[in-house]
């Protein structure tokens, strides 16, 4: 029973080893030249200390949500494509329905102006 998890265990150990090893080794081997700007916390090019009362565009949020939706669609496509022959007609029709429903969603977003940047 437990042996069947051996492979997964070894893979996890290797993943931890490689990731951890890289962090440890860069901090030990890498050159260190410290100056004030470099030691500031860094977040996507934003200054760390500013007033939080700023406006930001919600357009990014909409694009991100749409991206997740269609990304998931793609995720479903991969296993379906691999098993396409075995699933037969049933799988084909089911997938068509799935795409149709998502297509209606895309049509809705499009007509509603969700894809207009301005």
């Amino acid at each position: 029973m437990l042996e069947s998890y051996l492979g997964a265990g070894i893979m996890m150990l290797m993943a931890i080893g490689i990731a951890g090893g890289m962090v440890v080794m860069t901090s030990m081997l890498g050159p260190k030249r410290e100056f004030a700007d470099k030691m500031e916390p860094f977040e996507c090019g934003e200054s760390p200390i500013v007033s939080p009362h700023q406006r930001f565009s919600v357009k990014f949020y909409l694009v991100a949500v749409l991206f997740v939706l269609f990304d998931i669609e793609a995720v479903f496509f991969f296993p379906w494509a691999i098993l396409f022959k075995q699933l037969g007609m049933f799988g084909f029709i089911e997938m068509l329905l799935f795409i149709l429903i998502l297509g209606v969603g895309l049509l809705y977003v499009w007509k509603r102006g969700g894809l207009d940047w301005e």
């Binding site: 098993l83 022959k85 075995q86 037969g88 799988g91 429903i101 209606v104 049509l107 809705y108 007509k111």
Partner: protein, 478 residues
């Protein structure tokens, strides 16, 4: 390679869900191609609800199990599907004039109501925890959006945000409870859970009981039982009035149906443990609901607390879990739909653009100006309070007799006392309408659709009160 066989799919038993989904999508798409006038959408959604109700009769040798025992079509689910279709149709009818008046111009409104109905039907027919969770999520997500559909109104935004944050939190509890039940019995199907408990196949008794407690918390939130009712008054007050009426009936009925199914089909063996818990929840729900309502000056908050109190009575039916209690649940929710839509119909009529007239004071003197409206309101309120010969009395009588049959005498006595308390605040509104001078001018536009809803509700409230036999026979036909 071996071809993979398609799983058994019984589309006929899923018919109402499919019909309602298709019509919901149709409304969504049609909305894109029509102009400002949304009456086509109203027509499509009402047709969809009618077809949905009819299609639920597609199977006539009940009960039918399908989807590997995850879905059932039985009397409970068919009857509840009818309640959902009726209440959603009433909600749409009552919104037509309201939306015009308040400038709610989004067509999504109607499709969200249809999608919400889909979730409710799933909830009433689900016999698998995952299906129940799916139903609850469909219902809740539609409601979060509906509560905040007036985007420019801060109250509506507050309602939506509060409902969303607390609702998402409660969903977590529900899911955790389901996980523990699955972990200790090895199945998500209600029947399998029951048989695992009966045959001693429980891996961990404490975890099972923990799961039951978490389920009570999660479902208690969804039906607004005390102490998980905090959201109800604020959300009911902030949401647009037709949405409030909709929320108070359909989704509540659906959650109660799932509540009943889980507790009577999956874990009846554990009833010595959860019975006392539910008794406590029921009693404090009745007390907090009724005593809270007495303090209110806003009619929507008053009705919110009254609806909390009604959940208290309905939980008694779940505790009793005999054959009588399921039909009592069905009958109660049907009558409740009529009473609530009637009351809210009048609340909507009394408002006008920019001033909804929601203070109870504003009802003073209504009987002199609009005697018929005041009389209708009186009928609805007395029925909510449970006075014979109105429908509310028969419904309560039914629930209480189900509990008495199982020997819950003290619980029933408390419920009857609470019923008497509730009359105080219902009568308060009536006293304002009949015995006080008007504080301000009434400026009422008698919009035909809303009047139609009120007329249907009056008919339902009186008909079910005086001749309940035929509907009771339908509810008991299992």
């Amino acid at each position: 390679m071996e071809p993979i066989t398609a799983p058994a799919i019984d589309l006929v038993s899923l018919a109402p869900v499919l019909v309602l989904s298709v019509f919901g999508i149709m409304v969504l798409v049609t909305d894109l191609f029509i102009g400002k006038d949304k009456s086509v959408l109203v027509f499509i959604s009402l047709t969809g609800l009618l077809m949905g109700a009819i299609s639920s009769l597609a199977k006539y040798n009940l009960p039918v199990h399908s989807f590997n025992g995850a879905y059932i079509v039985d009397h409970l689910s068919v009857f509840f599907t009818f309640i959902f279709c009726i209440s959603s149709a009433l909600a749409i009818l009552v919104s037509v004039d309201f939306n015009k008046r308040e400038g709610i111009k989004v067509g999504e409104y109607y499709s969200l109501i249809l999608f919400c109905t889909v979730g409710m039907v799933l909830l009433a027919s689900a016999t698998d925890m995952i299906m129940i969770f799916l139903g609850i999520e469909i219902v809740s997500i539609s409601l979060y959006v509906l509560a905040g559909i007036r985007r420019n109104d801060p109250k509506s935004n507050e309602a939506a945000l509060k409902y969303f944050l607390l609702g998402a939190f409660a969903t977590g509890f529900l899911l955790y409870g389901m996980t523990l039940l699955y972990g200790s019995t090895g199945s998500t199907k209600l029947v399998m859970i029951a048989s695992a408990i009966r045959n001693g196949g429980v891996a961990s008794e404490p975890l099972l009981l923990m799961g039951v407690v978490l389920l009570i918390i999660g479902l208690g939130f969804k039906v607004a039982a005390v102490p998980f009712h905090m959201w109800a008054p604020d959300v009911y007050q902030g949401a647009p009035t037709p949405v409030t009426a909709f929320m108070a009936v359909g989704p509540k009925a659906a959650s109660l149906a799932a509540f009943y199914r889980i507790f009577s089909e999956a874990i009846p063996q554990l009833s010595p443990s959860w019975e006392i818990l539910l008794c406590v929840v029921s009693v404090i729900t009745m007390f907090v609901g009724n005593l809270g309502a007495i303090m209110q000056t806003n009619i929507k908050r008053l009705l919110a607390f009254s609806s909390v109190a009604h959940v208290g009575y309905l939980i008694i039916a779940i505790i009793a879990k005999n054959s009588l209690s399921s039909s009592a649940l069905m009958f109660y929710m049907l009558t409740y739909a009529f009473m609530i839509f009637g009351t809210f119909g009048i609340v909507i009529l009394l408002g006008r653009k920019g001033d909804e007239n929601l203070e109870i004071e504003n009802y003073s003197g209504l009987a002199y100006k609009h005697p018929v409206l005041a009389l209708s309101m009186t009928i609805f309120l007395l029925s909510l309070g449970g006075l014979p010969p109105l429908a509310g009395f028969v419904a309560k009588f039914f629930v209480f007799s189900a509990a008495l049959k199982e020997g819950f005498l003290i619980l029933v006595i408390i419920a009857v006392l609470n019923s008497a308390v509730s009359l105080y605040y219902y009568l308060k509104v009536i006293v304002f309408m009949y015995m006080k001078d008007p504080v301000k001018e009434f400026d009422i536009t008698l919009s035909p659709m809303t009047l139609f809803v009120i007329a249907i509700s009056i008919f339902g409230t009186i008909q079910l009160g005086i001749f309940p036999d035929s509907i009771i026979a339908l509810a008991q036909a299992n």
